[in-house]
């Protein structure tokens, strides 16, 4: 057993997956929609958890899983009808199973009473069908006196015994006879038994092989084996796979070998053999091997040679003493009979033929890193090649072109390894909805679409919290109570739609409800009350809706214990923004709200524009860039002091001078001599970033700045450019925040509003070049 503990990790990993499978299945389970495959999958999951748990001696867990499994078995064979109540109980059981796994994993004791309530609830279902078992007949599962929670389930007890009743029936007599004579051994307790073993001629067809059974007997003690061949037909009549031999075995074994050991050997063949076991008189000389006495019946075959070897070699290697595979081949010809030890069929030993393999994430991460390095190296070479005299080195250039292509494909392939369907996140939501519906007393239906949409693993992981929040928000604030819905002529049951899709290189996730929509009057008054908006400010509907993302909006009296878990939509937005995503809300009074969340497909690479300011180079995510332009002097306007605005596409856009914001010396500084990159932040706000030059578009590998240093304002991450140097990847929203504070001394009044606000005051000292 000791050795098997090495599999615990596998077991816990697998069990976690199985629990999730079971949970998904249970959440889909509802009266009237019982899908046999699904039910079977749940059963299998519980069953596997129990099976593995038994191997590691997790008795509490096994006992509980057994209860759970028994009820699932009833569901599986229709003896337990599916009711909402049952599903709730089963979900609770799944949770308890998860807890038990956690205790087992930690190696800590299961607190007494952990399983009691659920076990009691589970057993209720066993009793019920039991009472009408009279009418349903065989269908009822064997609820044969469920053991106490801490007990060991019956089938494990079977295993303790090592053998199974049914198989024993055929040799029960022999066994009884044997035990009657059990005292027949001598002082040493050595017992000599005479065993006759007459297999039916079709024994081989069940895959059993007498030779192995005889060998198994030999392991029990000193055995003389005599082979009887008188039933062997003439060669011409010989059936290839039929057995015609039978055997007599004289087995002398120690006292530790009881009748059950003999039974055990013949466990699988009891139905297909005549077996007799009789206790012979005690061996004449305990230490000496018994003298073999060939019987007359066996005379046709050379039995054990008269000069028997000493006891140390229990069975002489006499050709016919133990028929091994060779006998069978002789009798049966080559054929295709399995079990022989002939040379293989030449097929490669392919080992696993599974279509999927499990790979440690670290390995994939390393692969991603290496590919990243390759992208950089390739960009580096490309940079050098650009300096070569044009026209020369044509083949080199073509080769490089190809290399670039392959690199791109390689990168895409590697990234696709990390891609995961969003279903792993979506599948958690039905449960959330169920809980929220119960907690709020609302009736909610969750409709999901696009679960198979794939996105990088890191993105998937980062979706859980935002989605949880948005769904909470929809159910808690969006949907009305069933009564209210009826009053306004909607179905009692509200609907939350959750969908995912790919759209222009990003993943777009929507959470939409058919509730009452955002109460704009209330949102606005609350924002004013909290000092987030100046009284009297005129805001568009969209601006009001987006106030829910403003830090400080949803903290205080947004209160219910569901949405108000200390975090509001501002945190959701901040998290999403930090992943390079954006979130927006669209609402129609009385009709519902729709949150739209978009994220890059991967957090490992991004398409960026390389820009320069002074001697520094930066990367701007392409998704943020609207266009870049060189303004004419008449396009620029000073606004109350130092802030400039620029007319672009009919709108005034605030200019942000990157060299000022970052304190970069020797920059161009004048927007009319440099360039303005029109940037749109994730929440839709625009600003004009003043830079020296735009160097070109490039795919870059995102590198962490925080791994060895820390986060910096206005910087999303870093990357390595073709010349091997580091460039910072800019965070447009962060830059806007910085500039806002720089421009007006830190008032955060309308921080989240997209409208360009009135600038004021001077920049802080930190803006000066060092």
């Amino acid at each position: 057993m000791e050795d098997l503990s090495r599999f615990k990790q596998t077991y816990f990993d697998e069990s976690a997956e199985l629990l999730a499978v079971a949970e998904t299945g249970l959440l889909n389970l509802a009266p009237g929609t019982v899908d046999a495959d699904e039910v079977n999958a749940i059963f299998r999951a519980v069953h596997s958890i129990k099976g593995g748990g038994g191997a590691f001696g997790f008795t509490d867990l096994v006992a509980f899983a057994h209860e759970f499994e028994t009820v699932m078995d009833g569901v599986r064979n229709d003896s337990i009808p599916v009711s909402t109540d049952l599903v709730d109980t089963l979900i609770r059981a799944n949770d308890v199973l998860g807890h038990l796994l956690a205790y087992a994993r930690e190696g800590s004791d299961v607190p007494p009473g952990t399983t009691d309530a659920v076990v009691a609830a589970l057993r209720r279902y066993l009793r019920a069908p039991d009472t009408d078992a009279n009418t349903t007949g065989v269908a009822a599962p064997p609820p044969a006196a469920p053991p106490p929670a801490a007990g060991v389930p019956p089938d494990d007890e079977d295993d303790e015994a090592g053998i199974f009743g049914d198989a024993l029936a055929a040799i029960a007599e022999a066994r009884a006879a044997a035990s009657e004579d059990a005292g027949a051994g001598d002082d040493d307790g050595r017992v000599r038994r005479i065993i006759t073993f007459r297999p039916r001629h079709d024994l081989l067809m069940s895959g059993n092989e007498p030779a192995f059974l005889l060998r198994a007997l030999r392991r029990l003690g000193d055995a003389e084996v005599e082979c009887h061949t008188e039933r062997l037909p003439a060669l011409a009549d010989l059936e290839a796979e039929h057995l015609h031999l039978w055997w007599t075995v004289r087995l002398t074994s120690g006292p530790e070998v009881g009748p059950e050991a003999i039974d055990d050997v013949f466990e699988f063949v009891a139905d297909e053999c005549d077996i007799t076991v009789t206790i012979d008189s005690p061996p004449p000389v305990p230490v000496e091997p018994p003298q073999p006495v060939p019987t007359a019946a066996a005379a046709t075959v050379t039995a054990a040679p008269p000069a028997a070897p000493p006891a140390a070699t229990p069975v002489p290697a006499a050709p016919a003493a133990v028929p091994d595979a060779a006998v069978r081949r002789e009798a049966g010809g080559a054929g295709g009979a399995g079990g022989g030890n002939g040379a293989g069929n030449g097929a490669a030993h392919t080992g696993l033929t599974s279509h999927t393999i499990r790979v440690d994430l670290d390995k994939i991460d390393r692969l991603v890193n290496m590919v990243g390095e390759m992208v950089i190296t390739q960009a580096m070479i490309a940079e050098h090649v650009r300096d070569l005299p044009p026209g020369a080195f044509q083949e080199l250039l073509e080769g490089l072109e190809q290399l670039a292509q392959h690199t791109r494909e390689l990168r895409e392939s590697v990234m696709s390894i990390r891609a995961q369907p969003v279903s792993s996140v979506f599948s958690r939501m039905p449960r959330l909805v169920r809980e929220l519906a119960a907690a709020t007393g609302k009736e909610v239906q969750l409709v999901t679409a696009g679960e198979t949409t794939e996105v990088d693993k890191t993105v998937v992981e980062n979706l859980v919290d935002p989605l949880t929040h948005m769904i909470r928000n929809s159910i808690d604030h969006g949907l009305e109570s069933p009564e209210e819905r009826e009053r306004v002529g909607k179905p009692r049951q509200g609907t939350v739609h959750l969908s995912a899709q790919h759209r222009s290189g990003r993943i777009v996730i929507e959470v939409a409800d058919d509730g009452r929509g955002i109460n704009r009057a209330r949102v606005l008054s609350k924002a004013i009350e909290k000092g987030l908006v100046a009284p009297g400010t005129a805001l568009s509907d969209e601006e009001i809706d987006n106030l829910i993302f403003v830090p400080g909006f949803s903290t205080a009296d947004a209160v219910s214990n569901i949405s108000g878990r200390g975090v509001g939509m501002d945190v959701v937005r901040r998290n999403i923004t930090s992943l390079g995503g954006r979130i927006a809300v669209y609402s129609a009074p009385g009709e519902g709200s729709r949150f739209v969340l978009s994220l890059p497909l991967t957090l490992a690479v991004l398409d960026g524009m390389v820009i320069s300011v002074g001697e520094e180079r930066f990367v701007l995510p392409l998704t943020n860039i609207v266009e870049s332009l060189r303004p004419k002097p008449e396009d620029l306007h000073g606004l109350v002091g130092r802030c400039d605005v620029m007319m672009a596409r009919g709108e005034y856009v605030r200019l942000v001078y990157l060299h000022r914001l970052f304190g970069i010396p020797r920059a161009v500084g004048d927007a009319t001599r440099g360039l303005v990159v029109l940037v749109e932040t994730e929440d839709g706000a625009r600003l004009g970033l003043v830079v020296d030059e735009v160097l070109g578009q490039q795919q870059v590998v995102i590198k962490s700045l925080e791994a060895n240093y820390r986060r910096l304002d206005g910087v999303a991450a870093a990357t390595i450019l073709g010349d091997g140097r580091v460039a910072l990847i800019l965070d447009a929203a962060g830059l806007r925040e910085m500039s806002r504070h720089a421009d007006h001394g830190g008032t955060r009044a309308t921080a989240a509003l997209p409208a360009p606000d009135a600038p004021a005051a001077a920049g802080s000292a930190t803006l000066e070049p060092v």
Partner: protein, 121 residues
């Protein structure tokens, strides 16, 4: 030459444990996650013993046993059912389908080895 055992189980843990135990006992071990995979492994390798779980997705153990027995080449191939279900009905079904014998989970390694020896040496 080492005997080759194929363990068929949808539970990775079980496969790993069977494989580990039998490899230590001197067997070569192949693995498959369901009956369908098992058939292709058996087709591509000379397997001396199949140890199959009963309840598996895609193709369950009983179907696997029937499919194997239906092929002339595997009529005498030893097949053990590996199952936690020790009830007699299952065993009888297994036998009827052509199983050679059975092992009840949770097994202990010695028991597994002794059963394997009993059917494939």
């Amino acid at each position: 030459m080492k005997k080759k055992v194929l363990t068929v189980d949808d539970s990775r843990t079980m496969r790993d444990m069977v494989a580990f135990t039998l490899k230590n006992a001197g067997y070569d071990v192949l693995e498959a996650g369901d009956g369908q995979q098992a058939l292709s492994v058996v087709a591509a390798n000379k397997v001396d013993l199949v140890i199959a779980d009963l309840n598996m997705p895609i193709m369950d153990g009983l179907t696997l046993i029937r499919r194997l027995r239906a092929a002339p080449a595997h009529r005498t191939l030893p097949i053990l059912m590996l199952t936690t279900e020790s009830d007699e009905k299952k065993k009888a079904e297994g036998r009827a389908a052509g199983a050679t014998g059975w092992i009840v989970k949770p097994f202990n390694p010695d028991k597994l080895i002794s059963v394997v020896q009993k059917v494939c040496g």
